[in-house]
Symmetry: C2
Subunit: 233 residues, 2 copies
């Protein structure tokens, strides 16, 4: 099966030709929160361009452990890392609108559709860079540093508003599975960040930076000084 619950709906007439004259012809589709676009191992019959909303991409190990390998929102292309079969599962974490592209178009795409191919090449390069950054985060940072890095990068994707406020569209457990932590650890650190006055959670899924520079220092591998001036030495 490819779509859990079969709740993907065609949106005839919704935003078309986003990707130029050679763009795909399939119409945009709607996916509800918690529905899957595809599962790891499914035959890859199409790739998807996200038009709005958020999805998570993850892998499941045999012992049930899961690893989220990325979150994706508007502009992301899904399914390009695989060949024949999807190598990740993909679940909507908000309501999502996607535009499918038949996989058949991918073979020899450079000859047949150079505009789309360039688009895909840029996207996949960006995703590879992001995956490598995430490797550095997961492999070389402490829980505290991981969370700081995560908040900054998610805020970046969400475009922080004038109040330094941004969405946190995923659950604590998703954050944990992305960062290689447990949700209890994420929860504790979020609480600690608040207690120290670095962030303010206006709701579970809404966050505001109070001391962004402290998080940036943490993320870059420095010590958090909480405003205490460093003495020259």
């Amino acid at each position: 099966m490819c779509i859990a619950g079969g709740r993907i709906h065609d949106l005839q007439g919704a935003g078309s030709k986003t990707f130029g004259a050679t763009a795909p012809t399939l119409s945009a589709q709607h996916v509800s929160t918690h529905d899957h676009l595809f599962f790891e191992g499914d035959a890859r019959d199409r790739i998807y361009i996200v038009e709005s909303g958020w999805v998570k991409l993850y892998r499941t190990l045999i012992d049930g452990q899961r690893q989220i390998v990325g979150f994706a929102n508007s502009g992301s292309i899904l399914g390009i890392e695989s060949d024949g079969h999807y190598s990740n599962s993909c679940e909507a974490i908000t309501d999502v609108i996607i535009r499918p592209i038949p996989a058949i178009r991918i073979n020899g795409i450079c000859k047949n559709d150079p505009a789309l191919a360039d688009q895909i090449l840029r996207q996949i390069a960006r995703q590879l860079g992001a995956a490598q950054s995430q490797l550095a985060t997961i492999g070389a940072q402490s829980a505290e540093q991981k969370l700081a890095t995560f908040l900054l990068s998610i805020a970046d994707l969400c475009e922080v508003n004038h109040d330094r406020e941004f969405d946190l569209p995923m659950r604590r457990g998703d954050m944990a599975e992305f960062l290689g932590l447990r949700l209890e650890t994420v929860s504790r650190k979020m609480t600690e960040f608040q207690r120290r006055g670095w962030i303010k959670l206006t709701s579970l899924y809404h966050c505001r930076f109070l001391q962004r520079h402290v998080l940036e220092q943490l993320a870059q591998g420095g010590e958090a000084d909480t405003g205490v001036a460093l003495r020259a030495c």
Copy 2:
């Protein structure tokens, strides 16, 4: 600077036209062990195709922590994840022969050189898949599982010979920086794997599988049973 020690040598006449009629014109170059092809942040003036030998790709955090984001050998394309500037440093861990491709060719490559573009697209997709697998390894596995996964995948890249023997071209510290562990932990686990009769180190950089299935079970998230039969229950 781009090449530490300036020890990259042109190899005029060495293997040419590996990548079809539209292949790059620059000649192959030799890089000695421990020399750098490029550093994180350098202007990306070219990408490279590895023709022989091994390199490591890594990032350095401000506090000096390093994360190896990948090892690459024959057939790999280096520098494609970046745009304008290299996002990783690249160091030869053995003597290496590479073929450079001027970055200028990359823009609009689909129109100008579709054969090379298809090649790059396949390579980058493979690298993204590998990076995501590595995320799952680093984020969701124990030290023991990480090492089992690593040995299996490196053996795969090296092509195990008839004696189930394969090269381990990197140092313990490199393995550690790749797996998000400390070199002491890698050393301990390697010793433990040997003591349990799963592997035999014929030298520091040469390994033989004795009980490959145990490692495979470990890597997939199961318990290691060391040959003791499981009772049906």
